[in-house]
């Protein structure tokens, strides 16, 4: 198995090659210079939702930087996703203000009701509206309760099996 940061895109998905091509096309619109490395990675991630190996290799070729250096750079940024995200996953902020206002109990309650579908995450900078939850589209929800997160999570995945 490849290291976690060198995962390939899902080659079984019916639209995989089309999506990779679209990501490559978006990246090609940027100048072919090293200073475009981070913009290119963000562009690819925006198109695909994360950075599979194919996208990293393409970015490397486009900005003319070795693949190893692109990985060395990309893994330094917490917002660049080197692993395929699981759709429907929620995050609960565990920053100090959220923690003070019950984030841990909230996290535990959501985890108990939907095991495996929620994780803690570092400060989301919405501290004045703590506690804060984040959906899989990175939308922020302030002053949440476990009930509200569960209702939102269930509404989002209505009709699908958890």
């Amino acid at each position: 198995m490849a290291p976690v940061h060198e995962q390939p895109f899902d080659s079984d998905a019916p639209d995989a090659s089309a999506r990779l091509a679209a990501a490559a096309h978006a990246v090609q619109a940027l100048p072919r210079r090293r200073d475009q490395l981070l913009p290119a990675l963000l562009t690819a991630q925006h198109a695909l939702g994360w950075l599979p190996r194919e996208a990293v290799v393409h970015v490397a070729e486009h900005v003319r930087v070795p693949v190893s250096e692109v990985y060395a750079t990309a893994t330094g940024y917490s917002e660049l996703r080197m692993e395929r995200p699981v759709p429907g996953t929620w995050h609960v902020c565990t920053g100090v203000s959220c923690d003070l206002l019950g984030a841990r109990a909230l996290l535990a309650a959501v985890e108990a009701a939907l095991p495996g579908w929620v994780r803690g995450i570092d400060c989301q900078f919405l501290c004045a509206l703590a506690p804060v939850a984040v959906d899989d589209a990175e939308r922020l929800y302030g002053r949440v309760t476990a009930e509200r997160v569960l209702a939102l999570a269930r509404a989002e995945t209505e009709g699908t099996v958890r």
């Binding site: 917490s78 100090v96 003070l100 004045a128 509206l129 929800y141």
Partner: protein, 495 residues
């Protein structure tokens, strides 16, 4: 507080822009932005027969969802629209209300925050670009003199004198081979800090104005604005404002005078260390996000070897007030935690304001506060006995303040902060890479390990390449000194 009188060029621009886009005298500002959109959306429908326009959060995050009624001589914020205040709001619109309320920011750099609809016309009508219009008529050296007289210090946390930094860059000849550049630090990745995001969302034109003043003073014609990757509303608002300012001829010097400046926007991609200025330079160059050795300093050898001026968003916004009489000696404090009215406060740091005063603004009783965490993972705990002392600008850092109530678990918070620093260490230098990990281990039994913790923190403080490692020991030292008893109990389920 009086801003500078409009120059003839500004008066012309105001007339030209205000003509087709007059701002109505009576209107309702609906506070959206990141704060408004993160709470109950059902409160957004406001039905009154005056214009209702979207504005950003005005700093009263606690009030969300909120709206402000503006009538001549009257401004009234209605908090928590989800709690049925629609009737009172409608009465206020009809003029049946004589209780103006607004909250912080009557002047200074939050004066327009969330109180404009985002259009250039609205911002100009509220005094926008008056400082730049004046600066454009002054020789660059004169701007730096005025700035020096205000004593403005860098608001990113280090509080280096801004006039000195500008002077260092201004002193470089404008060389073709290495043209000078301004990098705006809008990364803001310190947990507990949300001030620059508010400034960008709620009054982006103020940042553009500060950028243009800095460029003129330091002889810079190129700018990169590096915005935190998660701050999407902030980037959108800034880009919209930039487009409007360009269309109006403000950025190319045709409307208000001054020089043409090229402004590029970049997004960050996370990481606490990315707020460090040399990390931003590496990030923009496409290198690994790690700090650089200093010297050489960025003012001599910065982005791609060019003389580089790096300023934080709040600093550049504060620059727009240097011509006010008198300039406000204020600092933005993002305040959160166990407090009734968390939000963004602009407080005077003039020798009179105390933490007790800040807590009172936020509705907290100092008697029920155990401590304040000032500065997050690189900060310290402020104890109640300090609450009555005047605030000192340098001691405020970036300003992030978390109020810890009586039940707050100081030991757990300290361990969480240490673990956060260990996760966020970029690994470039040994004292931080190894030290932050080792500190977490030693905190398993901090009282027994007291001497080793002190020795380790000394090495990290003295030898780390940047402030992440250099200041990672601060909350630990502070907690052990002030709350030793908190570490006495055996840890339960917290770890």
């Amino acid at each position: 507080m009086i801003g500078p009188a409009p120059t003839p060029a500004l008066a012309r621009l105001r007339a030209q822009i205000a003509g087709p886009h007059a701002v109505p005298e009576v209107r309702v500002l609906r506070h959206r932005g990141t704060c408004g959109d993160a709470v109950d959306a059902s409160a957004r429908s406001i039905t009154v027969d005056v214009p209702v326009v979207d504005a950003a959060c005005d700093g009263a995050c606690w009030a969300a969802p909120a709206a402000t009624v503006v009538r001549p001589g009257h401004r009234h914020r209605f908090a928590r629209l989800d709690r049925g205040v629609a009737g009172a709001l409608a009465a206020c619109v009809r003029g049946e209300c004589d209780e103006p309320q607004a909250g912080s920011g009557e002047h200074g750099l939050t004066a327009r925050l969330g109180r404009n609809d985002g259009t250039l016309a609205d911002v100009l009508a509220q005094g926008g670009y008056a400082a730049y219009a004046l600066a454009a008529t002054l020789p660059p050296a004169r701007i730096i003199e005025v700035l020096r007289a205000t004593g403005l210090s860098g608001r990113g946390g280090a509080h280096f004198p801004v006039a000195t930094k500008w002077g260092l860059v201004a002193a470089h000849e404008a060389a073709l081979a290495a043209p000078k550049i301004l990098v705006v630090n809008a990364e803001e990745g310190e947990p507990g800090v949300f001030k620059d995001r508010h400034l960008l969302e709620g009054d982006p034109h103020r940042l553009i104005e500060g950028i243009l003043i800095a460029c003129r003073a330091a002889g810079v014609r190129e700018v990169v604005v590096y915005i935190n990757g998660q701050a999407r509303h902030a980037r959108t608002a800034f880009e919209r404002a930039l487009a409007d300012a360009r269309d109006a001829g403000i950025v190319d010097g045709s409307a208000l005078g001054g020089e043409s400046v090229a402004i590029e926007v970049r997004s960050g991609a996370g990481g606490y260390v990315c707020g460090e200025e040399s990390v931003i330079l590496n990030s923009i160059e496409g290198e690994r996000p790690v700090p650089r050795y200093k010297p050489p300093f960025a003012t001599d050898f910065g982005l791609s070897g060019r003389p580089t001026l790096i300023n934080n968003v709040e600093t550049l916004c504060a620059v727009t007030t240097i011509f006010d009489t008198p300039p406000p000696p204020t600092k933005l404090l993002p305040l959160s935690g166990d407090v009734p009215r968390p939000g963004l406060y602009e407080v005077p740091v003039d020798g009179a304001m105390t933490w007790a005063g800040v807590l009172a603004m936020a509705g907290a009783s100092p008697a029920r506060v155990q401590a304040l965490l000032l500065g997050g993972p690189s900060g310290r705990f402020v104890l109640p006995e300090e609450f009555d002392r005047p605030l000192e600008m340098r001691a405020l850092g970036a300003g992030g303040t978390v109020v810890l109530g009586a039940s707050a678990d100081i030991a757990r918070i300290t361990r969480d902060l240490a673990a956060y620093n260990a996760r966020e260490s970029c690994g470039e230098c040994t004292p931080c890479r190894e030290g932050t990990q080792r500190l977490v281990q030693l905190l398993d039994d901090p009282l027994a390990n007291r001497d080793r913790i002190a020795a380790l923190i000394e090495v990290m403080t003295e030898a780390s390449l940047c402030a992440l490692g250099g200041m990672a020991g601060r909350p630990v030292t502070s907690a052990l000194a002030s709350f030793p008893q908190a570490f006495e109990m055996p840890e339960g389920s917290a770890r």
